[in-house]
Structure formats: C-alpha cells, structure tokens
Amino acid sequence: MTTAAQPALDPARLRADFPILGRELHGRRLVYLDSAATSQKPQAVLDAMDAYYRETNANVHRGVYELAAEATERFEGARDLAAALVNHPREGVVFTKNATEAVNLVAWAWGVRTLRPGDEVLVTEMEHHSNVVPWQIVAGITGARVRFAPVTPGGELDLERMRAMIGPRTRLVGVVHVSNVLGTINPVAEIAAMAHAEGALCLVDATQSVPHMPVDIAALGADLVAFTGHKMCGPTGIGVLCARPALLESWEPFLGGGEMISDVTTECSTWAEIPWKFEAGTPPIAEAVGLGAAVGYLQGIGLDRVRAHEREMAQALLDGLSELEGIRIFGPTDPDRRGAAVSFALPDLHPHDIAQFLDQEGVCVRAGHHCAKPLMRVLGVHATARASAYLYSGPDDVEALVAALRRARTYFGG
C-alpha cells in the first residue's frame, strides 16, 4: 500500500513496461485512449503467462505430480492476490470468464431460482448492458420486473429518487461503481446501505473502478462485486465475482461439470466447497496467473497513485476538450467525482468519423453506444466518442487528441 504522500506516477516511464505502446499506428506514435474498452498489458503479465505455459502447465486441483501441484499453487495464489486487492475473503472469490459472466452467475444461480412475479430488480440508467440484459432475461423467465434508477442531467445518479424506488419488492440493486460512459463515480456504499435497509442485495459492477482506484469491498458493504481482468492490465478470458461467502454457500450451482462437484451418482450430485462449487470445468488457469501478475503490477505502483494520476488526466481531458467550440462533454465536470473516461460529442462530427480520422493520426478512441444504450437514450444521442486514460496515459496523449480533433473538424467541415 502506498500513501497519498508518494510521488506522482510518471506515465511516460511506465509506458516502457507495455510493449504495444512502442508500436506505431499509421506512422505516428500510438496514442491509446481506449483503456475503458480494454487496457494494454505490461511485460510482467505476458511473462507470467508465458512462464506458466513453459514451466508448469498442467490441469489444476487433482493432479498428484509436481507440475500439477505447481500449477495449482500459481492458480490458487492468483485467487489470494485478487482477494487481497479488493479486501475480500478468498472463498468468496469466484473466477469467471469476464465481468459479464460474473453478473450472469448471480442472475442464474440466484435470480432464476429465487425471483417471483412482482419482485423487482433495480438497476440504473447508466448501467453497462452486462448489468441490464441478464436481469431482463431473468425477468422474462420469472415474471420479476427490472426498473431503472434515473440519471440527472449532470450525469449522476438521482439518489433521492433511487431511494424512493427501493422498497419491499426490491430484491436486488445493481449499480455500476464507475460509469464507462460518463466517468461518474457512484456512492456505492450509500446505495448498498439503501438496498440493505429494504432487505435487498447490492451488486456492484466494479469493472471500471477496480483497475483505477483502491476498492475495499468490506468498506463498500456490497454483497456482490464483479470485475474483469482485461481492463486491469490482465489478460482476456478471466473475470471475478466477489460474493459474500454465505450467499455462495446458500445458492444452487450455476454451471455444472468437473471441479464443482463433491460426488456424482446417476441419481444426484453434491457440490464442492465454495468457491469451487461455482467454477465448473477447467478454469482459466494461465489467465488467472496473468491476472495475479497484473494485481502485483498495479499494487507495485499503488492504486492510490493510479487514482491520483487519473484525476489529473480527467482534468486534462476536460480542459483540453473544452477548447473545442460547441463540444458537449458528458458526465461530471468535477474530477474528484469522476474517472478518466470522458465521452463527448461535436455537433458537426459523427463519433464514427471522429474515431476514423483520429485513427489515421495514431489516436485510438471509441465511438458508439459503449454497451449503454439506455443511457444513450437518456443523453439524447445515438452514440458518443470516448477518450479514456489509464496509468500509461499522459498529457501528451491529451494534446495529440485535441490537435487531431481540430484537424478532423477542418477535414469534414470542408
């Protein structure tokens, strides 16, 4: 753990850790401003996975021989690292394939088996589809209802209206910790308390917070927390569900197969202990090892330093983009209340054209609905462009972005 007194991180120096950032794009320096979609990977993570495959690849848990024991140790060691990162007991840490599966695990293991007609699941208008669609599917099967807590014009949750929507019928409140479109940091501890006051569970989508700031699940008081490896310097193919162990104990399993059983007869089966009860089949072993290395990398830097840096980057993006006449910037204007994913719209330029033009200048941004179509409707747009920073992003990236946007205007303006 680092303290606030530690020196600011130097993104230009950190870039050397990320092989891809040495590459050029159309002859320009690669300016990667799409870390909210997926982060780049440091050498340490690639090395950890490579070493796993070269030294000790074997299937985990049941092998007696040394290779299998080593593989199991690295795999379960990654679980300890992930657990420690977010201050959660390790038996409550389930490895999934991504954050989306983590939410679906809750939807199928708990929702489909528990929800009844009249029950409500409350999510917010700023949720990513991964915290909306599973609940719509479950609602379709069970007859429960999905409701949406409103977003204010300033791009924050309307807490009072949200509180009013939580009642005795509410069985679960799902909320994104940091919005991938607006950047908004939501007061999830307060929302968890609101949910608990009515006996509802609280599921936090921490996909955009865990990579970018210290997250302490015990302090948040959330029952269920989902995040994903590929946005936190880790590999694709792995996500995490942190669940209160007692919940996992009480739920029926989701995926059935090897590893998650205690006994199987032709009559019935009994389940393994948690968290393995929810990890059917060969798990993403190398991916867990890579995620563990990513956690080590992030902790070596210090998540509070990452957060401090991204606060600066959010400010720099807000300032830089504001220079463009007529621009509309979505989400909070106060960098203390937001992360460094900044969506914007230019009246005369479609996000697709922006992203295409910027690409030619070596700048990667995302254009589209960012898997948040309900929010797009609230914002009254079909799509936005989004620039999102991470620990390797610097002011030079913001300058490149703004300069390229100016040229785009000229190009399309004619």
Partner: protein, 153 residues
C-alpha cells in the same frame, strides 16, 4: 493521409455535406426505419412506388458521413428503377462492400466512390444501412418481408 482519403473520397464528403433527397415524402408508398446496432445510426427511408418503379426516394436520420453519403448516393442511384432492378442493385452493392464483386460504375453512379469502404469492415455496415433499408422497403411493399421477431423480455 492517403489511407483516409481513400475512404473519404471527395465525392463522399460532398454527398455528406450536401445530402440529396434528404427529408420525407408527403404520401410515401412505403416507409421503413433501420438502425445500425453497432453504432446507433438511425435511418428512415421512404419510397414512392408507381407502376413497379421507384419514383421518389427520401431518407432522414442520424449517422456518420459514410452512412449519410451512402443514403444520398443510393437515393440517386435507384430513382427511376424498376423494383427488380433496384433489388439487383442492392445485391450488387452488397457484394462490392464484401469485396466479392467489382463495382459497376454505370449502375452505381456516385455510389462507386464507396468502394474504398470495403477495406474497413467496421464501416461496411454504415455504407450498407440505407441499401438494406431499401431492400427491406421493397420487400415490405411486395409483401415478402418477414418481420424480425424480437425475442427479448
């Protein structure tokens, strides 16, 4: 910037800045609305069909330069054609976008300028949006359209 100019040919930017046949018809024979789920582009297309011919075309909506220019170019390319001709042209354009056919400038008109889009798979859907809407509109008119069934909730 040769790559970009290859995609955004002058003709495209021109159609984008000055869209032909934008708007709506007072009394369309058929109207369809399409959207591109990937980027949220949204298009309303109206046709006036008389004696088996596309007499007038109007398009309106929100989209990137490629999708807007494509709609504008399509509206010019199909006006006056018989329905079978128009459907043939849609298929030809689709094959050109997927790199499976050489573009036929005589039939495509300005839309030939969209040729370069084929090298940008993500943008192909933008260029196809209005053409697919056209196909849908004609098939709706001919009673052939099978409504896509939303299987949600």
């Amino acid at each position: 910037m040769p790559g970009l100019d290859d995609l955004y040919q002058q003709l495209i930017l021109d159609h984008y800045r000055n869209r032909r046949n934008q708007g709506s018809l007072p009394d369309p024979t058929v109207q369809v609305r399409h959207h591109n789920p990937l980027c949220g582009d949204d298009l309303t297309l109206e046709l006036l069909i008389e004696d088996g011919r596309v007499v007038e075309v109007r398009h309106d909506g929100d989209g990137c330069s490629i999708s807007q220019a494509a709609a504008s170019m399509m509206s010019e390319a199909v006006a006056g054609r018989t329905l079978p001709e128009a459907l043939e042209l849609v298929e030809h354009f689709r094959l050109v976008m997927h790199g499976d056919e050489e573009p036929d400038e005589d039939r495509l008109g300005d839309a030939i300028a969209l040729e370069g889009v084929a090298r940008y798979p993500v943008r192909v859907k933008c260029a196809l949006l209005s053409w697919m809407a056209l196909k849908d509109a004609i098939q709706t008119h001919s009673g052939e359209r099978t409504e896509p069934v939303p299987t949600g909730e």
